[in-house]
Symmetry: C2
Subunit: 516 residues, 2 copies
Amino acid sequence: MAKTFLCTKTNPVVQTKSGKLRGFFWDGTYIFHGIRYAVAKRFQMPREVEPWEGIKDALSYGYVCPILNQPQPSCEAMVPHRYWPQDEDCLFLNLWTPSLDSNAKKPVIVWLHGGGFSDGSSIEHVAYDGENMSKFGDAVVISLNHRLNVLGYLDVSSLSEKYRNSANAGTEDMVAALRWIRDNIANFGGDPNNVTLFGQSGGGAKIWTLMQTPSAFGLFHKGIIQSGVFDLLPMQGNNGEAICHALLQELRIPQGEGERLADVPYAQLAEAYKKVAPALQKKGEYVGLAPMQNEFMLGDPRKVGFSEFAKTVPVMVGTVFGEFSFGPAIDRTALSHEEKEALIVKKYGNAAQELISLFQEAYPEKDLTDLLFVDTLFRAPSRDFVIKRAAHTESPVYSYQFTLDFPYDGGHVAWHCCEIPFVFHNTDKAPYCNIPGVSDRLEEQLCGAWVNFARTGDPNHRSLPHWPASTPEDEALMVFDRDTTVKHNFDAQLLDVLVKAVPSFSFEETDEPIQH
Amino acid sequence: MAKTFLCTKTNPVVQTKSGKLRGFFWDGTYIFHGIRYAVAKRFQMPREVEPWEGIKDALSYGYVCPILNQPQPSCEAMVPHRYWPQDEDCLFLNLWTPSLDSNAKKPVIVWLHGGGFSDGSSIEHVAYDGENMSKFGDAVVISLNHRLNVLGYLDVSSLSEKYRNSANAGTEDMVAALRWIRDNIANFGGDPNNVTLFGQSGGGAKIWTLMQTPSAFGLFHKGIIQSGVFDLLPMQGNNGEAICHALLQELRIPQGEGERLADVPYAQLAEAYKKVAPALQKKGEYVGLAPMQNEFMLGDPRKVGFSEFAKTVPVMVGTVFGEFSFGPAIDRTALSHEEKEALIVKKYGNAAQELISLFQEAYPEKDLTDLLFVDTLFRAPSRDFVIKRAAHTESPVYSYQFTLDFPYDGGHVAWHCCEIPFVFHNTDKAPYCNIPGVSDRLEEQLCGAWVNFARTGDPNHRSLPHWPASTPEDEALMVFDRDTTVKHNFDAQLLDVLVKAVPSFSFEETDEPIQH
């Protein structure tokens, strides 16, 4: 059935600090695509947008940040993508809102995309579209691009004073976006004093990064970290002199003319980087691609402690059951109990029997073969984060796990990114999410918790069992599944044994798309 | 509401000539993305796919053909895009079908995308998705990529006998896809003896190109040419020796080693081409980018006559009111009648008064300012095509025009591509199409006509007034609008005067995205 579309010369038009913007109205939602929130020269800090006369259109998504490698679409049934033209001029955000009343003060919920700090975009996943969430949650939903990889996170400060925080330029972009939101969101019906960040994978890591970034303090008020707590190796100090030297050499730029690195076409810079970085990385040298701990960014809160600001920010933290288990599902019905046990022994050796018993205790409803796919890479640091954060009682921390078994491939454990369509109320855009009698309720539970948390700081709502905040002694997890229930420290022992049984994960050893 | 999704290890799996393919089932439709229909080396003819063991996944769209210029998204509210990673290895098709019964013999309707012969892809427009049309029309819908621009239409035959038909390689790809359909479509529920091509802009031109391509004769049975009849300059014979010479020189490849052109990375080849082609084009030299008239391709039927095969192929031919009128709408309510007339005089000079009177006769329900945007570039050649084709009574030719005024920009004449969501029954994916009380009926009228024509060769169905085939004396157009009606030769005089009044269109003079 036809819905209502409106886009005249003057409606919807919104006055921002720099000038007027025109979006469109569609089925109850005002939509603005590709709003420029800042401008930036390569390696330098973002600056405010210059004022303009007249009305600018915000009807087309902006360029997304260039990435180092060409994507190879192969996993679309699990992670359906939306690609977009790339350009360094990529500081754009997208906005969905139910109201343009400057007194409406709707909660503002800002999506930070995944892909580590190197990949992805504000519109990369088809389920990043904010229309349904805005409508369901009566909230302003925003997604944004920022600079990535060598453009956003490479320390070239040794080349020029202008580049002094290039190692965190991408994060400075996000701070600029948050400032834009503070200055302008009221006219889009939003409450500048109620801004919640949510993000998955790298997007989740961006949230705890911003919680430790003094220039972002006060610009947001809550955070939802989805599969976003993990170890970022490059964060531990160090500097970019070695990688700069290698890049200049590779690009035949004389050492005294290092600033010319800012003029090299991106494709060439990326090729040079990919050529010289691996050898340096092997030697343990800094090669960038994640925020640098410095006076701008205080460091991983699990290691250096939570900033005073971070202690006051209510957070939700969670993971999914299988995370990087993108491979083929095991055909469970084809295997006998003995064959399943044999697979587990093959993977976990001596620890197999203990793990089987701990697994059956933690996940009594799951098939034994699922033990082969239990994630620890995200889950163990996330539990660590929750417990350490819970020690600060200034504000609550809520923990969750998403453990739904999907119909894809005849039955597949939950993988990295799989919960995103539920969060955005976009399961209609991702066929694999659809399980009649199950997925609608689960979508209401997740999206409802997310928007309720954004509105009030408490995710509880009537479609959920009561979800208490965690304490250092009691990690109270909302386990989202066919039968969503709260469990307490339920996998603590399993995690301990698993982490010891599995050699620690190396980013170099996986063939999986690790950046998502 | 959750829909039904199915994708197990063995279902849906279809046996093709070369091996087994797995797709997925979604809400009543079997969907296969990224089926490889051929392989090809650069400049060479496509070859059949090698057989494989086991089951291959067809769950991700394949690479699309690289294009010469980076797209600059700016017109998304009018033409919403879906971009995708590019690679020369791009010979993939996508398929939506209501049945996998090899006796079902559903009509097969194959989409050829627009973008001239240089741009676009099988999934470029969000409305190219075939699911809704397949369901509404109970038909097998297919979309496909093929080689474009220098990869698909550059004559480098002087460099090697291997490249003898490189000037039509992209068309050879489409022939290969039609052969794949002939050989395999029964197992996807389709009738290999009832294949209809439909395409818009370049996609429409591809249809009449294939009607004149002997190797395609018999591989399809009907054609629907949407805004696809226009003059393709490079088609008039000539050869690529000059452009080859210039390319080799630019790329510093010795003239004796011309075959090395096949190994130059695409980006480099494209840069070289863009550097050397304009000067040659100015001199009137062949620079490719459209099919070449030769023994493979007989030439433009309006100039060289319709092939014996083309005479037997029922066709529908049509255009939209404004075509390349992508610019801002005129605010009709802000102008007096005198101001409107002044604009018309400014554009058409002495012919203004005659045009106003002819326009008001042809389009009594339209605003006078719409006269500023009446298309002749596509409409005049399309009328010429219809009349010439109607002279051959072996099979019918149906003519249409799409003249809906859209709510975009406060009221905008129909632009190039605007009818595509109606044809695919995808107006839910393109907000600008939505006019409560109007667009649902129009969608049923268009999509219904398209699929009925595909099924039977006659577009008439109960939601339409009777639509007669055209004759050389009577161009009987179905005019799709709020009040869809049949008109006879209704704009013939207007066109005659307009074509004389407007200096002939030059591709070089427009800033608009001419390739769509």
